[in-house]
Symmetry: D2
Subunit: 158 residues, 4 copies
């Protein structure tokens, strides 16, 4: 199984893309801060925004991704793919609070076979709140490991 091999930097300049979001009251907990599970949804929202920004919206990736694999003639041609989460790890450095405007920066790293990793930096007004890494595997609609769409390497390398 793939294992986290990259270490998220705390310098925003090391990231390729940044997405801004606002924490919700529904995501707070009785400690008065954002519950730690909500961060995983923030990482996902940033991934989705990134795919949209590079011209490969995740709903198209999931549906069929015709623009990404025009030469494909494999058994799964015409089928969509999911970037399943194989591993996720978050380091909570300073709590997020209700109504914080969070910048979620991310960068792709360690593309290997059917998997890739993403590092994240979460800041509020430039102050680090959390870092994270997710490891993803490309799977077809039946959940079987599938090679990465051809555009992934190019897009992620730029």
């Amino acid at each position: 199984m793939a294992r986290q091999s990259i270490e998220p930097s705390r310098d925003p300049a090391d990231y390729a893309f940044a997405h801004r979001l606002r924490t919700r009251f529904a995501e707070t907990d009785a400690m008065g801060v954002i519950h730690h599970a909500a961060y995983l949804a923030y990482l996902e929202e940033a991934r989705v925004a990134y795919l949209r920004a590079i011209g490969h919206p995740y709903d198209e990736v999931r549906a069929a991704d015709p623009g990404g694999d025009t030469g494909s003639s494999g058994a799964d041609s015409g089928n969509g793919r999911d970037f399943a989460v194989l591993e996720a790890s978050v380091q909570y450095r300073k709590p997020l609070r209700f109504d914080d405007e969070v910048e979620v920066a991310l960068v792709i790293g360690a593309i290997k076979g059917t998997t890739f990793q993403i590092a994240y930096l979460l800041t509020v007004d430039g102050e680090v709140r959390a870092t994270a890494v997710t490891v993803h595997g490309c799977v077809d609609s039946r959940g079987r490991a599938s090679r990465l769409p051809s555009w992934v390497g190019e897009a992620f390398a730029s």
Copy 2:
């Protein structure tokens, strides 16, 4: 569209089934109580427990429901059904708190065509915390209205 037409009783004796669950810390909010959106997941958990108790687990209903429609030869034979939520309403009477053991009582009512309604009473140690009603429509795997499985009327009437 179906509209809520039943009124949830505050007397536990008026309910057909009761499911117990414990609130989670993840479901609290910064007001120190259970966030109001979590109640909808509690209602759903109770519905699922009820279907299991009457011998029609929801994953079977969704997968194929072979025991429910043996005579079916329609276009959707062999397909599962979902009990889509058409309407939900909750009255929050007294807050639920972290680690509360909640009894969610429910009773089916107002079966009409492809829809039915469920009334709920949420109590902790016999004290009313909330009442609720959900309105459901039976749909096939493509989301189209579908007649209720034959067992529904019988099961719900008992």
Copy 3:
């Protein structure tokens, strides 16, 4: 107890404010649509955006609201308030899907004593997906009913 007494219009022109948000993948369910409980978080996000837009951010309302009650000398002066949810009801008319850009329009109505109601209209590209009503009660930091801040009537009437 306060009860929903207003009926949400399906005409966007009847609403005072609109907030746009994008559904998350984390909010989908195995039916392939947005889970019905997520709508309550959308309504809340729109309420919070509205309070910010009219100059009374909810975190200030919760913290102390000094700008709202300068003349207050009551037992709870200097204390914050919460707009607790007393009742919520949603009518799901057409499913929301992953990555939909949703416009959540809202309008305040039926201010009575310490309570008020809000009607909502959720649309995607002008098409109605859901309507909703929430009933709120103003409470102090101990959860006791508290009179509405003076700015509420004025702000909501405009």
Copy 4:
């Protein structure tokens, strides 16, 4: 900052406690499996069940924990504590599905100063679905690092 230093075993015999729960439909996503963020709530539910089982319910820990620190005379005496999550990491090995009955086994490890770690093994019918580690820091009601209650070392060592 504390960092994960323990590796979760895949042998149930290595764990001190096991909690059973059932996945909810609300926790599924459009891939038809349990969304990866829900696992963090499962880990938390198991932690809370464990604290209850060893006689230190988390709501008492949070409220005051009088039985745990009778000799305390520090500035925070009489105040509760939280076991804040400093780090969480999950390895998803095989998807959980709707209505799965999950056994969440856990064991405490690496108690150091004000922090401790927990390893988790999630299985369904004996089959491994995920492993995880959380790192916790003991904090007082203001979020400042606070020494661990005296019962922690004893309880966790047994």
